[in-house]
Symmetry: C2
Subunit: 211 residues, 2 copies
């Protein structure tokens, strides 16, 4: 899956042409995502990344200044892609008479589609230097914030029962994490439930409906 990218500005580089930097960063990210998913961050070497991106190890280091830079580019690109997916999904869900059920459905489908990428974030965020780990966690909060907004809107239109702000915020986190759960427990869940089963059962669970 292609992941979008635009965090060039945070990374030091020797190269003058900004368009070129952008293109090379994209190549680096696309190569690294696949390798990290397959082997993990630590077992992937900078040489492998350079080779997969199609240039030499020397050139690679003209566009980044450390291996951690690559992980940051990767995490940020994944979040951008997830956020884009969620925003589009929200727009689609808001098309008809929007309901929380549809929002959950669209979001869980994004999680299903980007399963490997979300798992990667769970496993490797810790390997980032602190200042960048912080940025990556802020991305996570921003995505959760989308659900808060949707829920607040649904409450205002009466399509969702009244909730305190704190309960609503926690519910937004729950929705986020139950989406992620499909990715990090798929080794079990996917053997017992299809993604559609999962969505249906979890929607009932979240909305507090009995069967």
């Amino acid at each position: 899956m292609m992941v979008s990218f635009d965090r060039t500005k945070d990374i030091l580089t020797q190269i003058k042409n900004p368009e070129l930097v952008k293109r090379r960063h994209r190549q680096i990210v696309d190569a690294a995502v696949q390798l990290f998913i397959e082997h993990g961050f630590h077992k992937t070497t900078t040489r492998q990344i350079a080779a997969a991106a199609g240039f030499s190890i020397g050139s690679l280091y003209e566009y980044i200044s450390s291996k951690e830079d690559i992980l940051y580019l990767v995490c940020d690109a994944i979040h951008a892609e997830v956020e884009r997916g969620v925003s589009e999904a929200m727009a689609r869900a808001a098309g008809g008479r929007s309901s929380l059920g549809e929002v959950i459905r669209e979001y869980f489908l994004v999680c299903n589609r980007m399963s490997d990428h979300i798992l990667l974030i769970y496993q490797e965020t810790q390997s980032l230097p602190p200042q960048w780990r912080k940025k990556v966690l802020e991305n996570e909060v921003r995505i959760t914030g989308i659900f808060v907004e949707v829920m607040a809107h649904l409450i205002s239109t009466g399509d969702l029962p009244q909730l305190s702000d704190r309960a609503m915020e926690l519910m937004a986190h729950n929705i986020s994490v139950l989406g992620h759960m499909w990715t990090f427990r798929s080794w079990f869940l996917a053997r017992h439930y299809s993604i559609d089963d999962y969505i249906e059962l979890q929607t009932r669970f979240i909305l507090g409906l009995s069967e």
Copy 2:
């Protein structure tokens, strides 16, 4: 926090005295848990582990045959400790007239107490060789299974509404993961909720009660 241990049998060793092996393995685990929590598995060296455990690098390798062995011992010890905590908690919750609310409360308190350890499992399980990753994931299923049993019992006594087996199993996974969520989102949650707030709100959420 001390973590218990009994997976000596899986690890090859040159040493004849089984009691000694057990004691050394425990030392290795106790040293490694702290180092892994602080620096992660990959950034911790075998020398650091040997030093923290109180013997030489040469001796360390008499008791294990690879660095991954240590990670396996650590993951297994953590699961044993969590499982012990959960079992005790279940026993306590079952003391009076047991309710799912009390079970959740006791379990979430275990997660709160073992926060760093649970986080470690989330981050480093991937670094295990496949056969041992499998064992670690089985541990996770076993712990979830405890909730399934409790819920089945509560349904049989009428203390919990009727549920299909699949819905019940998924609910057990949700309880597990929402407990873990307190550990891997504490960077956000702990700033807004105390553990008691968290338990109360999540209990309402899981039981499908309105406010």
